[in-house]
């Protein structure tokens, strides 16, 4: 490595480290504030580290878990995320398989329809959607996944199609000769080959679904107590402008932790999956 390259490397390392710190700073700040008393979190003191006077231990975490029905919200978030992700992965990979293998005008049209759905902003259709969801009784955590399937399909089909094109059709033909019908070919041969893309799409969808606020807020019937963690966090803002900052910060931390765990476990596959779907070969 030449001297110029070494200097370039060092400069890049410093810049990237600084960027990473800037990126992670809000999370660290939330974490520190979650350990402070409510009264010690104000505009002036929010940036201070916990000290003997402001440190409150894990009491904010206990409060956030016990006070506002956190376990219930966690369960609903989990149900919505898991069910929606499974539905998106299974349906969209099947759909992409059809689009890539059946060369007709309508399969092409279907593909463009999915891609187009990615550019339609949610705000454009949210009010009509919430009314429709109510009418169709899709306003429970167990049925909202149908709506999520619609919103998540665009990106998922787009990514699956990209990868599917690189899968040689001979593998599927070999499976058909070996004794598989279409269903077995898909589940025993195609799906395992799609694993890297399934994980990538799964992670992207998990991050979106777990953190989504607006759609469940508009659709879920809160009169029946249905709420996800992002909605619950908002409930820490009480009346007359009172905000329970400590428990709110703790809830945010609790919300972030599962995502971080999922990401860390699967990050190797995400990078592999994105690369695998990027080019044909």
């Amino acid at each position: 490595m030449t001297q110029a390259n070494k200097i370039k490397d060092r400069v890049l390392t410093v810049v990237m480290t600084l960027l990473s710190l800037i990126w992670i700073y809000p999370i660290i700040m939330i974490f520190f504030n979650s350990l402070k008393k409510d009264t010690s979190i104000s505009t002036g003191t929010a940036f201070e580290l916990p000290n003997a006077e402001s440190f409150t231990g894990l009491s904010n975490y206990v409060d956030s878990i016990t006070a506002k029905g956190f376990p219930k919200a966690f369960w609903y978030s989990l149900v919505i995320t898991v069910m929606s992700v499974i539905l998106i992965l299974v349906c969209c990979s099947m759909c992409a398989w059809f689009i890539t293998r059946v060369h007709t005008w309508y399969s092409k049209a279907l593909y463009f329809l999915f891609v187009f759905s990615m550019v339609v902003p949610f705000q454009m259709l949210m009010f009509t959607l919430s009314a429709t969801a109510n009418r169709l009784q899709l306003d429970t955590p167990y049925t909202i996944c149908i709506i999520y399937l619609g919103f998540g399909a665009g990106l998922a089909v787009f990514m699956f199609c990209g990868f599917m094109k690189s899968v040689p059709i001979e593998i599927e033909e070999a499976a058909m000769i070996d004794g598989c019908g279409p269903v077995r070919t898909f589940f025993l041969v195609v799906m395992p080959i799609l694993k890297p893309t399934l994980i990538s799409v799964g992670i992207l969808e998990v991050m979106w679904l777990w953190n989504d606020y607006l759609l469940p807020y508009l659709v879920l019937d809160r009169t029946k107590g249905y709420m996800t963690i992002p909605i619950l966090i908002q409930y820490f803002r009480g009346s007359y402008g009172k905000v329970e900052m400590g428990p709110m910060m703790a809830s945010i931390m609790l919300n972030i932790i599962p995502i971080i765990i999922v990401y860390l476990v699967c990050q190797k596959h995400i990078i592999k999956g994105v690369a695998a779907g990027a080019v044909k070969g």
Binding site: E170, I171, E173, A174, A175, M176, I177, D178, R184
Partner: protein, 394 residues
Amino acid sequence: MAEVVLKNIKKVYPNTEKSKKKKGNDEKKQKHKITEEGELAVKNINLEIADKEFIVLVGPSGCGKSTTLRMVAGLEEISGGELMIDGKKMNDVPPKDRDIAMVFQSYALYPHMTVRENMEFPLKLRKYSKEEIRKRVDQAAQILGIEEYLNRKPKALSGGQRQRVAIGRAIVREPKVLLMDEPLSNLDAKLRNQMRAEIIKLRQRINTTFLYVTHDQTEAMTLGDRIVIMKDGIIQQIGTPQEVFEHPANLFVAGFIGMPQMNFYHAELIKENGTYMAALEGVRISLSEEKQKNLAEHGISPCDITLGVRPEHITLSDDKEKSIHGIVDVSEMMGSAVHLHVNACGRDTIIIVQTMDLSDEKRKMTVSGSTIGFTFSGSVAHIFDKETGKNLEF
């Protein structure tokens, strides 16, 4: 083990807007005939493959050989005609129920399974017992010499090993018909020769009906009991390797089979005192008795012909009157033989001269730029109709 019969098998790809446009624009450039029905890829194939026979479909790219094989496999719909395997009509039977196995050019192994799992897969789907599966896989692995790779994934194998696994996956089922679609095309020349020999050995051991597709005439000649030469979706000739080499049915077969390819000349067929002779550049070549008989039987009268002679059948000659003359353009030393490219009769003529037969005097003649004389016997000359390209002896 089964007999395979193809009766008037036809494959038509329906017209699309694109193909309609092509039809309008450059119909002459199309390899396949475009009809109102669509693009004709395979036209009325009639072929009877005997039980345990090794048949090779050979031809240039786009001749319909792979399409024919895929129709037998059930991967392509049959547009017309009848396909019978073991006496049963198979036109509408799905691939999994035809009791066939196929080896693909690209191996088509399941990348997420180990070699053992790949080979077990078709047996598991057919619900064989665990014991039987293990026995069959071990046996196939032993035949193919892949026992030590059984726990590896395909990505950890070389091209040759992968192809062995693909063959292993096909033979574990003991199918009635084993289909092979250019299985050696992805291998390098050395490995291809090695695998070719392996397939010959395999054939002796597994005793099933083989249908093999290749564009490589050497593979076709060495592997097949009979070879089927195809062009533009039509069978040009069916015969044993020896038959198609010695008695090509037309100009295409004559040019396709044999390496280097046959030399062709514009010549004249003449008849003197009831004897047929080929006249080329003023030199008269008496045809063999067998050829005389065949031509007479077909009532062939003197006419312009295309004369074909294989490079290895041409000999150098000093006789100025009875030999054809040309100038050596290129001389290629191949070790045991010299390939001479000679400009004679207005075209490039290839002559193969065995180096051990070369005298010092003749050796001087093989240098680029020198003038040489050559001749050939009437028994190795092939007489083709100038217009149709058909062998006049047939």
